[in-house]
């Protein structure tokens, strides 16, 4: 469903649903993902990992492994550059390169089970496996700490002796696991609570959850004798992989070519390196290409989940339902190294609501878990779970419709966010109204079911992107994108180029270039590709149009101002010229005679990404004797600006909702007493399967196209994972008859809460 408001633009391609240019390869098995590359002489790499949650590495003895026939190289952290410094933009923030390196191969200490200690390259997988067992690592096991509040305790085992809490004045005297304390706020919170008619409060917990991409991390690295190297890998950004590998191995960027493979899902989790520097270090040692592919167990043990969190929230409310003040404390797990997305949790928590006084505190806390990585709207879903649950409690206490309560408090254009941005082009109210008017919300709740609603916010970002548009000699067009296509972006890039050039979509193809073939681009993340890389595509296409017009004017010997570009052809508006339109095909065929090949590349740093808002409604039923929940109906509405390819936008809403439902009901990292992960596999991690879900209806709200984007696009990928935790939780709480504040809402927890 589209809410219209096309702003008078007559769009032919944007808004349609063509087949994606890479589609056939992906339905025939021809698409090459990270593990699908084979090179002559290629070796198999394997990684030796810590069996302990926390231990000092006393000694690594690889002599027996190296003596095994077929073993070509072994590397440890000493093979990484010791003087590598600097920061790299990736995922949810900046991480010191030394920490990324130490996460790829442990230095001195292992900080979680599965932490990489050494790696081996051998001629056969079986030999590599045997060699791993022959690498002897001597550990001194140290006390461990897993949970966030336990890690914050004064007597907790400290992971990093040099970590002193940032953001505390004066600087603390003792090292601790609290990497930083963040404070944010405005207004007179105490006064708001003093004047409140009603105070709602609660304490919430969410579990660490994994992105759950189906493709395990995989790469092939090949070192050249002159240092020039090539890496094939599936990632969310070939340029960021190049930058990290270069710094960790102390190489010039121009010596590394990263060729992006197709990527089998990422959701933020493939914005950093785990294998690539290790594989290249191995290749450097033995001069042969090395392939490393993680097992699923390794993915769970050693690649980024997102933070589990403990959250306290208080709302000060007037009796008419207006929220006048709020306090929020977020404690986020960072994993073994600092850098949880707690900042983003603070910034997004109340972003849907116009609340005058806010006092927000966040703690970034390390513990003996894998280092967190970005996961779809990093930091936002947990904070939203707490806030949207509290608002649901408020609606119950006031006897108000939960949508009406949210409309009453919703941000509108001109409102000021806590982080300093002014709300612009926001369609939250329209999205709430769209849900309210939806067939789902209008239908009565089925017998034995309950309904929950929740809203969510994500910033969406812009940033650095590059794209090229090449006109072929026959008038067809190739778009060169700088971002891996994680969910159909080749289609939207080709569509925006086709729209700009006035071509049918079938005449435009799109490819994703390696690091040597296009200008720099940031990661495929932050819901930025359609917006920022799309802007580069459109600007490149506009340059091509300008060039085509110039060539037409030269052909006609008229002023270029008298040339119009329409439907893929130049027409002359000079009444003195009796000429027929020149199609792109005609112009391209004569390009050699009018100045040479027709192509344009644009690199830019896109500012002005518009935020997105989502509202979800969930109906579910619970088996009262077993506590098992089943989602029976689900609708997701979102402020999308303008949908370039509506089917893929719907897909983002549906996929995000499904991930959020899994987060709410079943997914979690389960640790035993010894600090070891007990469910490092799909079997016991329990992501939603097809029979767990109903159809997920979507409403694309196009009431406020983004004026900063040529076709009005807003980022859409991340918002949809923000509302489901509370939408599900609110429905469960309604049936249980009390607030369910701890995720996941497993059958045992629900049954216990039902008093059975």
């Amino acid at each position: 469903m589209s809410d219209g408001n096309q702003g008078g633009i007559n769009l032919k391609v944007v808004g349609s649903r063509p087949v994606r240019p890479d589609g056939v390869d992906k339905v025939t098995g021809r698409a090459q993902f990270g593990a699908d590359f084979h090179l002559p002489g290629m070796l198999t790499g394997r990684i030796k990992r810590s069996p302990h949650a926390h231990a000092r590495i006393l000694k690594i003895d690889a002599s027996a492994a190296l003596a095994l026939p077929g073993v070509k190289a072994v590397v440890t952290s000493s093979d990484f550059a010791s003087d590598a410094t600097g920061e790299i933009e990736a995922g949810e923030g900046h991480a010191a390169i030394q920490e990324i390196a130490a996460n790829c191969l442990a230095k001195g200490r292992v900080l979680y089970q599965g932490h990489a200690v050494a790696a081996v390259a051998a001629t056969q997988p079986e030999i590599a496996d045997e060699a791993l067992e022959l690498i002897e690592v001597t550990y001194e096991v140290l006390p461990h700490v897993i949970d966030v509040e336990a890690a914050m305790a004064a007597d907790a085992p400290v992971l990093h002796e040099d970590m002193f809490t940032k953001g505390v004045t004066p600087k603390p005297a003792h090292a601790s696991n609290v990497a930083a304390k963040h404070v944010m706020g405005r207004g007179d919170v105490a006064a708001a609570f003093n004047a409140a008619d009603l105070i709602v409060e609660g304490r919430y917990e969410t579990a660490a959850v994994h992105q759950g991409y189906i493709e395990p991390h995989a790469c092939v690295a090949s070192w050249g004798a002159d240092g020039q190297s090539t890496i094939w890998c599936s990632s969310q950004g070939q340029f960021v992989i190049r930058a990290m590998v270069a710094k960790i191995l102390n190489m010039p960027l121009s010596d590394i070519k990263v060729i992006p493979a197709e990527i089998g899902g990422g959701f933020g989790g493939k914005t950093t390196v785990y294998l690539e520097p290790v594989a290249l270090a191995l290749s450097r040692k033995c001069g042969r290409p090395v392939k490393i592919v993680m097992s699923r167990e390794e993915v769970f043990l050693a690649s980024g989940p997102t933070s589990g969190a403990v959250i306290d929230v208080r709302l000060a409310v007037r009796k008419d339902g207006r929220i006048t003040g709020a306090e929020l404390t977020l404690k986020y797990q960072a994993g073994a190294f600092q850098g949880s997305p707690v900042n983003l949790g603070l910034m997004t928590a109340f972003a849907c609501y116009d609340v005058e006084a806010l006092a927000l505190t966040g703690y970034d806390v390390v513990s003996n878990r894998p280092k967190v990585a970005a996961y779809r709207a990093p930091g936002a879903p947990m904070a939203a779970f707490a806030v949207e649950s509290a608002i649901d409690d408020l609606a119950t206490r006031l006897g108000m419709d939960p949508i009406d309560l949210r409309i009453l408090n919703a941000v509108r254009d001109g409102a000021k966010t806590v982080y300093g941005a002014t709300v612009k082009h926001a369609a939250l109210v329209e999205t709430l109204e769209a849900i309210k008017a939806s067939p789902h919300y209008q239908a009565p709740v089925a017998k034995g079911c309950a309904r929950g609603v929740a809203a969510g916010f994500w910033f969406n970002v812009g940033g650095e992107s590059s794209a090229a548009v090449h006109v072929d000699e026959d008038g067809g067009v190739t778009v060169v994108s700088s971002n891996p296509d994680i969910g159909g972006s080749r289609a939207s890039m080709a569509m925006m180029a086709a729209e700009t050039l006035g071509l049918p979509i079938e005449r435009v193809r799109c490819t994703v270039a390696d690091t040597t073939s296009i200008g720099y681009s940031g990661v495929t993340g932050g819901s930025r590709v359609t917006f920022a890389t799309g802007m580069a595509v459109v600007e490149a296409a506009q340059k091509v149009v300008a060039d085509l017009k110039r060539r037409a004017a030269a052909t006609w010997e008229c002023d270029v101002a008298m040339v119009e570009w329409k439907d893929g052809a130049a027409t002359c508006t000079d009444p003195s010229k009796d000429v027929k339109p020149l199609s792109i095909k005609a112009l391209a065929g004569k390009s050699a005679k009018t100045g040479g090949p027709i192509a344009a590349e644009v690199s830019l740093n896109a500012q002005g990404a518009a935020a997105g808002y989502g509202v979800h409604v969930c109906d579910l039923q619970i088996d009262a004797e077993t506590g098992r929940s089943m989602v029976t109906r689900y609708t997701a509405a979102q402020d999308v600006g303008r949908a370039i390819h509506p089917a893929y936008v719907e897909g983002q809403l549906q996929g995000g909702a499904a991930q959020g439902i899994g987060w709410a009901l079943n997914e979690e990292y389960v640790y035993g007493k010894s600090g070891l992960l007990e469910n490092a596999g799909f079997l016991d991690y329990r992501m939603p399967v097809a029979s767990d879900l109903p159809m997920i209806d979507t409403i694309l709200v196009e009431a406020k196209p983004n004026p900063r984007h040529p076709y009005g696009a807003k980022g859409v990928g991340e918002v949809p994972i923000v509302p489901p935790l509370a939408a599900v939780g609110n429905a469960v709480s309604r049936i249980v008859g009390r607030r369910m504040s701890s995720l996941p809402l497993s059958p045992a927890k629900v049954l216990a809460a039902m008093g059975k």
């Binding site: 004797e625 077993t626 079997l683 016991d684 059958p747």
Partner: protein, 288 residues
């Protein structure tokens, strides 16, 4: 994974000989859906894998003297497609068909499910409730053993190292009898049972229960035959009072652990609930 020899004997005798020759380095494979996972995770490191699926006696379903003989390596999918078996022992078939995905159904077998000796094996409570008997062959010959006597603990069975489970015998289905199996998993599919319960009942013409067997899984080191629960149904119309007694008997028999899949308390509660529900379904089937 180091070198593994793959053997695919075509007779039980050949398989017994191969097993005897290879000793503890050998693992028998039916569907392989547990064994390959264990090999992949390094928890099983066999030197010899003996594939049983090429032995005619181990695959397929035969009707004999009114009962059924099910080859131990017969896949769940084949059981589900056997109309007569499904009509006679719906509980056994539905339990077998709950194991894993469609893909796993194409491979996983009753024999493998039993001999993998997981207390959470879905088909085992249903087989126990049905009164199924194992046909076991070894160097010393053939013997028969009730299913409830096979598992002795997690991963352990009473079969000796050189014996092979060849087939299951399901008895003649009495008139006015029925069976059912239910399990609890957090998702709708793909999980290991947190709790499972199988019930088989026979009624007389007046609807009075004349025989009943109740078995529960994932609540003790092995799947349990809860004789007291069966006894609670005999002589009743499987009414509320009798079902309450089943719940009490099942709860009393449970000795579960708390683990990543569920707490002991939860398992005990839900085992009672599932046993009652399965008894109601079994009774409905018996009355139909």
């Amino acid at each position: 994974m180091s070198a593994v020899d793959y053997l695919a004997p075509s007779s039980v005798a050949d398989a017994v000989r191969a097993l005897h020759a290879a000793g503890p380095a050998a693992r028998l494979m039916a569907g392989g859906t547990d064994l390959l996972v264990q090999m992949r995770g390094g928890r099983a490191k066999p030197k010899v894998v003996i594939d049983l699926k090429r032995i005619p006696a181990l695959t397929g379903v035969r009707q004999e003297a009114g009962g059924f003989v099910i080859g131990a390596a017969t896949s769940g999918a084949m059981l589900g497609e056997h109309a007569a078996l499904k009509a006679a022992w719906p509980g056994v078939v539905e339990a077998a068909n709950l194991i894993g995905s469609t893909q796993v159904q194409g491979r996983a077998s009753l024999g493998g499910n039993l001999c993998n000796a997981s207390p959470a094996a879905d088909s085992v409570p249903a087989l126990i409730a049905a009164g199924a008997v194992c046909v076991i062959e070894g160097p010393a010959g053939v013997r028969e053993l009730a299913v409830e006597h096979v598992q002795t603990g997690p991963g352990k069975t009473s079969l000796s190292a050189d014996e092979i489970l060849v087939a299951f015998r399901l008895p003649v289905r009495p008139a006015r009898s029925g069976d059912a199996y239910l399990r609890l998993i957090p998702r709708t599919e793909m999980d290991i049972a947190v709790v499972g319960a199988g019930v088989s009942v026979a009624l007389d013409s007046a609807g009075i229960c004349t025989a009943a067997r109740v078995s529960v899984g994932a609540v003790a080191p092995t799947c349990l035959l809860v004789e007291a629960a069966g006894a609670a149904l005999v002589g009743t119309k499987v009414d509320e009072a009798a079902l309450s007694k089943v719940e009490v008997a099942v709860a009393a028999a449970c000795r579960p652990i708390s683990d990543k899949r569920g707490t002991a308390e939860y398992r005990t509660k839900v085992a009672s609930v599932l046993a009652r529900r399965a008894a109601v379904i079994a009774k409905e089937r018996a009355s139909a």
